[in-house]
Symmetry: C2
Subunit: 551 residues, 2 copies
């Protein structure tokens, strides 16, 4: 693709940039195939630049300078324009990471050209055109291994598993399940042929696979898509046998179905269904309804809209916050994860979780449960590894879910902030157990941004299969590896971290959960002060580390 055909005006002088927490400034605007670059007139070095991935832009609004005040949003200062009205235009740029900036551009035609370029280039559909394929950091390394681990390596390391579980490569060419990786862990006694039959009985071919082994008691978390029992209550002996093999000698297991009992019933009308008591009599089914898809996306939109409300009315704010229901979704996700941990750790039984297609709330809840139970998931490496396994490899469709964020006016398609909701839940845990997680809030914020627009290939595409087809692993850089480089690692480490073997049970009382201000109000003064504190603590630790070393 030739990006240049979409860029009628590449450079504009004398543009005024207004962004939160900064005074307005005048400089040069430049549009490239993947970036918007603003260079302040006064400053020559890169500190005087704003570099924005066009992919990060969620919505743009155009207006003439006259009727601008209503739009201003986060800006309190308006630069006096020395240009005559009508001869210039204004673009408000709203980013997927909630950053909002405003550009006053001389010349209406130039302004429209810029806007059009942004509109086109920010929504490229073709993966191969996206910036990760062009990004070459100076310390770029293309080594054999992309990512932190892979299913093979993960299996090899988990020696306790080897007696009862095996690595199946039945999906090596993605023909059994398009959203699974090439290798998955299944009960040893279940053959690949059986798996193929089970895959036909589970939505999206997502037959039950192991996603977590609890060393303390040998119990596991399995995840899958819903069983396709349909209106006729179809059975699948192989599926029943697979689940029986999971339990083995244990008296029972739990199925956590993240739909209400009624929804699960209704799913039968469209070919879906649930595991009936009569066919799976060793399994006890629990229903916990969790919102997904459009409902979650609308909740995010409402919340961000509430956060931007400038009415100075406390009642209105709290009422809008409530009305967005975002914190209710946080609560439900955490309490469902808590339920899973209760079944597995307290009650001592294995658990299968799924919703309908098993690529959204299923992954969210299994991620949170592992973080709560397993100390090895709470270090910086451990957490990134967990996300790699449970979101990237497990087939969360990032490209669809993160196509747009809270500002876009485009009709909702497959967008849903499942990954963001997971990060928010992790933040709640982090806040309740400030010493128990090895990473900082800054990491969660970075991940929230990267999921929507990134230099890296990690969150590209919707599945391992698609990434393979696009040669993501050969042609792009891996975010998780980059985050573990020494300089980044220092920034994302929780300096107060203390390892604990115990499960960290988050409180899910409404009173215990809070708005994630660090993200949702990140472009305000307040957040900057909290960052100062983090920096102060970091300095203190480094300082005391140095003195300790000098002895």
């Amino acid at each position: 693709m030739e990006f240049s055909e979409h860029i009628k005006t590449a450079n504009v002088e004398d543009v005024v940039l207004q962004q939160p927490l900064h005074p307005p400034s005048r400089g040069t605007l430049c549009i490239t195939g993947h970036h918007l670059l603003f260079s302040h007139r006064e400053e020559q070095d890169s500190s005087g630049q704003v570099l924005l991935l066009l992919r990060n832009i969620d919505a743009i609004e155009k207006s003439s300078v006259e009727n601008l005040s209503g739009y201003l949003g986060p800006f309190t200062n308006v630069v006096n324009s020395k240009r005559a009205s009508g001869s210039s235009g204004t673009i408000i740029i709203k980013c997927k990471d909630l950053f909002v900036l405003q550009l006053d551009i001389p010349g209406m035609e130039q302004c429209l050209n810029i806007a059009q370029s942004i509109e086109t280039l920010s929504c490229l559909d073709c993966v191969a055109d996206m910036y990760p394929f062009f990004y070459r950091p100076c310390d770029a390394i293309f080594c054999d291994q992309w990512g932190l681990s892979n299913p093979e390596k993960h299996y090899t390391e988990m020696e306790e598993l080897h007696e009862r579980w095996r690595l199946s490569t039945v999906n090596r060419d993605y023909s059994v399940c398009v959203s699974y990786p090439t290798a998955v862990i299944v009960p040893k006694e279940i053959s690949d042929d059986t798996l193929k039959k089970v895959a036909k009985f589970r939505q999206g071919g997502r037959f039950p696979v192991l996603c977590y082994y609890h060393r303390k008691n040998g119990m596991v978390i399995m995840r899958s898509g819903q069983p396709l029992t349909g209106a006729n209550r179809k059975r699948c002996k192989e599926d029943e046998r697979l689940l029986q093999a999971v339990i083995e000698d244990s008296d029972k297991g739990y199925i956590i179905d993240m739909r209400s009992a009624q929804q699960a019933q209704q799913a039968r009308m469209t070919g879906g269904g649930f595991e009936s008591k009569s066919c799976y009599n060793s399994w006890r089914r629990l229903h916990r309804h969790m919102e997904r898809g459009k409902t979650l996306q609308e909740s995010l939109i409402k919340l961000v809209e509430a956060c931007a409300d400038k009415s100075h009315n406390m009642g209105r704010w709290l009422s809008k916050l409530e009305n967005s229901k975002w914190l209710s979704h946080v609560q439900t996700a955490l309490s469902t994860a808590g339920l899973l941990v209760e079944c597995l750790e307290r009650d001592g039984h294995s658990v299968l979780i799924h919703d309908s297609d098993g690529i959204d709330s299923t992954l969210l809840v299994s991620t949170l449960a592992q973080l709560i139970m397993d100390p090895s998931c709470r270090t910086l490496e451990g957490f990134l590894g967990l996300l790699e396994r449970e979101f990237v490899q497990a087939g969360h469709p990032f490209q669809q879910r993160c196509a747009h964020s809270a500002f876009s006016h485009a009709r909702l398609q497959q967008e849903s902030p499942v990954f963001l909701l997971m990060l928010d839940c992790v933040w709640q845990i982090w806040r309740q157990f400030p010493l128990a997680l090895g990473f900082s809030e800054a990491l969660l914020l970075r991940l929230a941004t990267e999921a929507y627009a990134s230099n890296y290939g990690t969150f590209l595409s919707n599945s391992d299969m698609e990434r393979h087809a696009a040669q993501v692993k050969d042609k792009t850089q891996c975010l998780f590896r980059a985050l573990l480089k020494p300089r980044e690692r220092e920034q994302y480490t929780n300096q107060l971290y203390e390892h604990t073997e115990l499960a960290i049970w988050p409180s899910v009382h409404p009173q215990s959960l809070q708005l994630w201000r660090g993200f949702f109000l990140r472009w305000t003064q307040q957040t900057r002060h909290l960052e100062e504190v983090q920096q102060e603590i970091r300095n203190m630790v480094i300082e005391s580390g140095k003195t300790a070393l000098s002895f």
Copy 2:
């Protein structure tokens, strides 16, 4: 008074205590004239004791053991009682600092005796019977000076004042104003005789006095009661002259009236009023309505009730939080203080503030404004000194306002959580500027508890006059002095403090203000974790301090 006549049962064995964050425990209960003491059976040292000031008890509820579950509130574990039902009773004790504990007492009669003793002894009216008159810490010092400073000393230290301001002792015998201290600062050219006349024209005799001198521009904050213009628009030439003397050469001053314009008008019907434009033409009047008295108390009650809601319903919690309006009061207080600072620091003019009687929101706002503007008020000593001047000496009626807290079923009299609201506002500032205040959240929590029930005499009585009559300064210990002793000082110092000369403008956007969880949810697990973090940071600083010293 003989306390013993109110204690029919002084000791009970085999009592079960349930308190938040602890497992239930069995031991001996003892009631004395001022304390409830529970000693765990297993532990002999004082760590196994719970010592509670009876004065701290806001409400008690009795029930028989059978129908207890509905009451349990914060407790998740119930001890199996080995006693037959009916032969024992349960008392739930709800404290003014929001601590709730439960006692299961064998023997219904003993239980009733205990309850009755608590009910009587927790509400003693006579100041001289209160515990501060009996409290003798091992390091007690009765020196000449009680408190951190006094008006005379304060005036002497402020040399910049001496040219235009004088210390008046017109109130040396409390005959001019019952709620003022014996000495106040007034314009030099205003004689004591004039002050006496002005006092008759101001509610409660509270003639305008200086409470803050802004070194940067020489402007001042004055405070007073409302002018008693009444329905006939009475004037007082002396009052007008006093205010004119405050302005001197400056073109104008601001009056911030913490009532709506309508309320100020209505006040004339009951003898009150406001400074009319025609009589005070150099002063510009601004009205900012702030709730006080019963409305504030009811807001607190609703908020605490909301915090205790166990329904696990996020929507319900947020709606109750909104409905309590507590955060709206926080917002109004902070924004009114911000307005004051704007008038004084940005606009560069002196300000007179008052509501009707000038002993509640007036003091709240003047305290916050000084904290925002003046770096010397932001150290530990500075802040305690500020509270001493603006609340204790300035005549905030602590005994009336803090007679009951959020749990009492007694009919509301003069209770109002003005001091608590001030602490909450300071906490909001502290949270927004984590490096700018020299004291910790722990200090604010301690002060919130001490205001309602204390070993110290600092918050006793309603005014300097009453404290003088009760010989508080001779017979009790001073809290502020105790808080500055080395061990306490370490605990209450903000280890991240960095002095800044600038005003610290708090954001009053609804989105920027939060529930003070450290206080309102203080007896939950969550808060304990936050304390761990503080402790961790403290250790780190002490550690790095030690290594620094050892060089």
